[in-house]
Amino acid sequence: MLTFLVRRIIASALLLLVASFFVYILLTYAGDPLGFLNEITDPKIREDIRLSVIDRMSLDTPRVIRYFHWLGDVVRGDFGISTRTQLSVNDELASRLPLTLKLVFGASILSTVLGVTTGIVTALRQYSGFDYIVTFFTFLFFSLPVFWVAVILKKWGGLDFNDWWRDGAKMPTWLIVTAGIFAAVIAYSIAGGRWPRRSAIAAAGGLAGAGLFLYLSEAGWFVNPGIGLAVLIPLGLALAVAATAVFAGIKNQRALGASLTTAVIGMIVYLPIQPYLDGPRFGWWHALLLLVITLAVSVGVGFAWGGYDRGLSAKVAALVGFLISFLIFVDRHLQSWNAYATDSITRNRPIKTVGHSEPRFSGKGFWIINNDAFAHMILPTLALMLISLAGYTRYTRASMLEVLNLDYIRTARAKGLTERTVVVRHGLRNALIPLATIVAFDIGGMLGGAVITETVFEWAGMGRMFIDGLGNLDPNVVMAATMVVGATAVVANILADVAYSVLDPRIRLNA
């Protein structure tokens, strides 16, 4: 394993080196990096800057030698200066990299979770209406130009949404009806059994969907959102039952007890914890601490219920604990939504289409700042997600179908295991292994996509830096962006290989 890692790292570093040489030499042909000097009118200042830039970037040496100068600096951790601003590229990188990573990882996690779930459901209900709808949408998403979607999102999700929000956030009837029909179609396709049962489920699903939206719209939920205890209690219990049903089986009394206990503890804690959450010093560290406590308590509850399979109960309880605490976390954010949106800075235009955060919110408290970050992130993340979402759905579906047709699945069914055990334990685990590679590959693609998304939404991230640098003929800036993107992709790939070998014992990394 260690030998493999070392070999892979060395090989990747060499590849990166060759790629950097290639890009650097290409860039030297792009044009004169000093062309911007003509914009400076004062001849003396112009000459000074010219000489200093030539000196600091060794522009007077042949291009190959210049590359090695640059490489020497990079090895020492210095990406040089920008010709245009004469500022250190390192500083710029330090401020921009976190933004891009935030965007890419947010979109990655969301699209993995959503895509994998959808993929599994479509595989289990192959050739159903839901399967066809999802397949059509994956094809459509694959065919969308990212910038085109981003521009439309900016209009519909940004400007139009804000107008709608300002005007009272009432859903029009046609939208509620459409949502109801959509929910009914999906419920019909996902539900199993014969058509009378499925129709009943579809009708219930459709009515529930339409009713929910009607209620939310009429009660002014969109203006003043939140979850509250009234929803948290049924939702929490449902989550506990669902998590048990999927991961332990509903007949496992002890696991069910453990998850229900955890859910109830969450509901009891809900009210007493609010003052603590409201506290002025609440921050990410406090949130992390709360999460750790939650997980510890849930695992404790799981063990306390005991039984022959204590580990399983603990796992399910931990999952429920995580979900409930996440709900409470989201609820607290939603409570601050109205305060954020009606603030004199936001002025009733909550969803932002430009930039990554509003600096004037600093010091207004954890929840407001997070709401602001969310409002800035939602649209670029959506734009970035669409395409990888389609990819994940397709891959998971194909992988799941392939695994479900294998011999050991037939064996598992033949020896009388429940469908849940067959699908979750034998099918799902094996189907998800190849996804490790896909996720890594996709992160590389997302970094490319971020170039576009950041341009449309004017994020000051790496992608913007790359384009601006290229447009300004600023070699060090372009090189820094390219190298970081390449290195991220390389690291993701190595991690994927390692994850693959850990997940699949048949694969040995001794090569």
């Binding site: 590849l15 060759v18 860039l27 065919s143 910038f147 085109w148």
Partner: protein, 368 residues
């Protein structure tokens, strides 16, 4: 009608689909690989819809504004000044008069005009379709040539040649396609049709090369290759006459998908300002040039985008159909209803035949 010696081998059992020769095997009996693939492809409804739509789009783009020596039937050209129109939006109408619309009509400027620059959007879009299609055809030719050659040499010969070629592939794969093409196109000042197509093609072959290499690695160990070698065939002949035809499916499928991706990359490249630029127009450059005026004049942005989506969607459908057609594991699951009625038919026929042979059988067979 003889009694079958072994159960499930006689002609009757065969008709019932009970033999080893299964449903799909009987369907392809006596057909060549190419014929099988073609038949499957033609039966793939979605792929056929995609192909028909794509052909219609090509026909529309070529016939309307013409191409080269071919004159078009449309009044304007993409680079022709159009007088300022009172109605800037699309003149085309699809809503009939009895529904309160203007009636189904094509109009003078079906997709509307760009009053600022005095351009007709339909002519521009059609020109964009032509350019984008040329770009992806060039891209496909280039990447197929490079990808197949590199993949084949690498996979067939192995050793140091494989090492070198695969490391070159890795170097290109390490950076996002968009980034590397942007740098190349910008460095050489490429903004015309051919040069952007060239830049895209030079860097898009990597995936194909890896696929072809993998196929060659597997196929070169097969008996038919040994046979060819023993018969004295040269490496060149083995590569192109014996192995390559067997990898054709992979190549065609992945090229189709590559072409779809090519349009999207070209569009993205135009958007960040390093692709096809004015005075040339492609679908991508049109959509990106008009992206800023989306709020005020959405038609300028929407029509080119819709054509991008349509073309890529068609290519995806065709690619999907091709994949199904070339995949030997692909099974057409016969519908239960079909099997039932087929069994019914065969049973009736058997009874009739037996009756004819014996002449005195009562008609009990029909009642089941």
């Amino acid at each position: 009608m003889s009694t079958p010696e072994f159960p499930g081998t006689g002609p009757d059992a065969d008709d019932l689909g009970l033999t080893e020769l299964t449903h799909e095997q009987r369907e392809v009996a006596g057909l060549s690989q190419g014929q099988i693939a073609r038949r499957r492809f033609v039966r793939h409804k979605l792929a056929m819809v995609g192909l028909a739509t794509l052909l219609a789009i090509v026909a529309l783009a070529v016939s309307s504004i013409g191409a080269g020596p071919i004159p078009g039937w449309y009044e304007y050209q993409h680079n022709e000044m159009v007088p300022i129109q009172e109605k800037e939006g699309p003149h085309m109408s699809l809503r009939p008069t009895w529904l309160g619309g203007d009636g189904v009509q094509f109009g003078d400027h079906p997709f509307g005009v760009d009053n600022q620059n005095g351009r007709d959007l339909f002519a521009q879009t059609m020109r964009g379709v032509q350019v984008s299609l040329v770009v992806i055809v060039v891209l496909a030719l280039l990447s197929v040539t490079l990808g197949v050659l590199i993949g084949a040499l690498s996979g067939y010969f192995g050793g140091w040649l494989d090492q070198i070629l695969m490391r070159v592939t890795d170097v290109i794969l390490i950076l996002p396609l968009l980034v590397i093409v942007a740098v190349a196109a910008f460095s050489f000042g490429w903004s015309g049709l051919w040069s952007v197509a060239l830049a895209l093609g030079i860097f898009s072959w990597t995936g194909l090369a890896r696929l072809v290499r993998a196929e060659f690695l597997a196929l070169r160990e097969r008996e038919f290759v040994d046979a060819a070698r023993v018969a004295g065939a040269s490496s060149w002949r083995i590569i192109f006459k014996h192995i390559l035809p067997n990898t054709l499916g992979t190549i065609i499928v992945s090229t189709t998908l590559l072409m779809g991706g090519g349009i999207l990359t070209e569009a993205a490249l135009s958007y960040i300002g390093f692709g096809i630029q004015a005075p040339n127009v492609s679908l991508g450059s049109l959509a990106s040039d008009y992206a800023r005026s989306f709020n005020a004049r959405p038609h300028l942005f929407v029509f080119p985008g819709v054509f991008i989506i349509l073309i890529v969607l068609c290519l995806q459908f065709i690619g999907d159909g091709l994949r199904d057609a070339f995949d030997p594991r692909q099974k057409r699951i016969p519908k239960f209803k079909d099997l039932e009625s087929k069994a019914q038919q065969v049973a009736t026929q058997m009874v009739e035949e037996t009756k004819a042979a014996r002449g005195d059988l009562p008609t009990y067979g029909r009642q089941t």
